[in-house]
């Protein structure tokens, strides 16, 4: 199976400190891969490198044979890689539906001039985008709140909104940065079900989370980072018993 994401010897240095140091792994189509590690292990930095928010110092990032590093974020999104944020970044003063419509951005064609005169074709396109956005909202179970202002949603629903917005870009892979953080047990179980459904629809997931029940439950494979280096990779049960992983988490040497 082709890999929707490949990291080869990726390295990122912040002021002399290697936040990510020679990390390599791949995410296959329809795979759920988890990226775990203690705080400061470099997980969010890896996400920022993949999504083009940060330039990398060495190594390369590819998707289906296309080099991604060096491209701006919007082109990485266009290549089918969407993401959510650890500190939720919904567009607060826009409606829930509008948030997801921004996710549909690249599926629209018209520019500023067509918008100015509001052509008939534009209105038809707008209808199609709204339908797609509503579909994404229904998928995560937020269709009824479509007209609410995003900032008025409870925190857990804002996380779902970010996922709907990512789905609306029609990605091959979604990077999920701590989607369960701040959710209660019940919400986390529902999130796990949602993520499984997303995979079933043909989308791969790369998941960072501290909720080990969720991670072990839904992931096909786990990559463990510590101090910017990959210390283990394998099926959840195997990684859980890896002495190096236990040492990293428990702080032994």
């Amino acid at each position: 199976m082709a890999d929707v994401l490949t990291l080869v010897q990726v390295r990122k240095v912040f002021g002399g400190l290697a936040a990510v140091d020679g990390v390599s792994f791949a995410v296959a189509e329809r795979e759920i891969k988890a990226l775990i590690g203690p705080n400061g292990a470099g997980k969010t930095t890896v996400f920022n490198l993949i999504s083009g928010m940060l330039p990398l110092n060495a190594g390369r990032i590819e998707s289906l044979g296309v080099r991604l590093n060096g491209r701006p974020p919007h082109l990485i999104s266009a290549h089918g890689i969407a993401r959510t944020f650890q500190n939720v970044q919904v567009f607060a003063h826009m409606s829930v539906l509008e948030n997801v419509l921004v996710g549909c951005h690249r599926h629209g064609r018209h520019g500023m001039l067509a918008a100015a005169v509001r052509t008939r074709r534009l209105r038809a396109e707008e209808q199609a985008l709204r339908a797609a956005a509503l579909e994404a909202l229904s998928f995560v179970g937020l269709a009824e709140q479509a007209e609410a202002e995003a900032s008025s949603l409870p925190f857990g629903n804002q996380r779902l909104l970010e996922i709907a917005r990512a789905l609306a870009t029609r990605p091959r892979l979604i990077l999920l940065d701590e989607p369960a953080a701040g959710l209660n047990t019940h919400e986390t179980v529902q999130l796990g079900e949602l993520l499984t459904r997303i995979r079933a629809s043909g989308i791969a997931l790369l998941l960072v989370d501290h909720d080990m029940d969720l991670v072990m439950d839904i992931s096909d494979e786990v990559v463990v980072l510590d101090h910017g280096e990959k210390i283990a990779q394998g099926p959840p049960r195997q990684v859980q018993q890896d002495p190096q992983v236990l040492a990293a988490y428990l702080g032994e040497n």
Binding site: M53, H74, I76, S77, Q89, V90, E98, L101, M112, A115
Partner: protein
């Protein structure tokens, strides 16, 4: 017919009837200036209110329209409409070229860069005497005309300006309610999230900057063909850039009707403050401060909140941007 379309049509009718109630040419000229300024504010509002970028140099683009029109019609005897169009194209090109490096900056840095740009343009207007007439400016700018119909009286020009202004209101509203407008508001909220949604943030910022420059340039051309005399001190320096910002903030950031209201208030106030001379800038600074503290959503936002409070006990936090029908 929805209520917003009705509101817009009522406003248009009101505007059409206004000169009948005010036959005094002084008042008519004030209404014309309100229209010209509203066009600048509408454009700047797209940049500031929707995309969240600050420009303190919009007088420069206003000057390009005015001086472009003036020079092309007086020195080169070009048709006034062609001069308007040529100046607009020039302002667009200059905004594009200057926007590429500048819009990489954000917040205060962008404000300072545009401030510097405004100063450079003002200095050029004063110093390039052979082209711009220096401090004495350019006189005898011909009026706009359609066939043998010349827009050379206050009442005629009034209808021309407000027709342009209403058209630009519709265009602004259409843009704001389109995919482009959504992306603008999205980058205002989170550039990182917008870019991962596939929005080309630098290009969109550049696009809206150029568009706002085009509005300012068009307004400048209209000004030149209306007053038929322009000089650098009239409204092509820093004070006018500030006035434009005050119009947008006072009227309401991200509120299209607010730009008209802001222009109305600031233009009328400018007339009242005329006896203060150069100190009127200080008054505008004070108004800007008071507006930010007491009316963070501008006069339009404040009015909307007031009317909601009267109807319902709990006022919602933010009014949604206005919607005007498509043209």
């Amino acid at each position: 017919m929805n209520r917003r379309l009705l509101g817009f049509l009522l406003f248009a009718v009101l505007l059409a009837l206004l000169p009948l109630a005010f036959s005094n040419p002084y008042y008519q000229s004030i209404f014309i200036f309100i229209g010209i300024n509203a066009i600048v504010a509408l454009g700047l509002n797209l940049l500031m209110g929707y995309a969240g970028q600050i420009s303190l140099g919009h007088a420069a683009f206003h000057a390009m329209g005015a001086y472009g029109s003036a020079i092309l019609t007086t020195t080169y005897h070009l048709n006034p409409w062609l001069a308007v169009a040529a100046s607009l194209v020039m302002a667009v090109i200059i905004a594009y070229v200057m926007g590429i490096p500048t819009l990489k900056l954000s917040g205060h840095y962008l404000a300072i860069a545009t401030l510097g740009f405004g100063m450079i343009v003002h200095i050029v207007l004063v110093q390039w005497v052979s082209m711009t007439g220096g401090t004495s400016g350019i006189t005898s700018i011909p009026p706009l005309s359609l066939g043998s119909f010349r827009f050379d009286t206050d009442i005629r020009f009034y209808y021309l300006v407000w027709a342009c202004c209403l058209l630009l209101m519709v265009i602004s509203t259409n843009i704001v309610n389109s995919r482009m407008g959504r992306s603008l508001r999205a980058i205002h909220s989170s550039e990182a999230a917008a870019s991962t949604c596939g929005v080309n943030v630098p290009r969109l910022k550049l696009g809206v900057f150029v568009l706002s420059a085009a509005y300012a340039s068009l307004a400048g051309s209209l000004y030149a063909h209306y007053v038929t005399f322009i000089s650098p001190e009239a409204r092509f320096g820093f004070p006018f850039s500030i006035q434009a910002v005050v119009m947008v903030v006072l009227g309401g950031l991200g509120n299209i009707w607010g730009s008209l209201l802001g222009s109305g208030v600031v233009t009328a106030l400018g007339e009242l403050l005329r006896p203060m001379g150069d100190y009127d800038v200080a008054a505008f600074g004070l108004i800007l401060m008071l507006a930010i503290v007491f009316l963070p959503q501008g006069v339009a936002g404040g009015l909307a909140r007031l009317s909601l409070r009267r109807r319902t006990p709990a006022p919602p936090s933010a009014p949604s941007p206005q919607e005007v029908p498509h043209g």
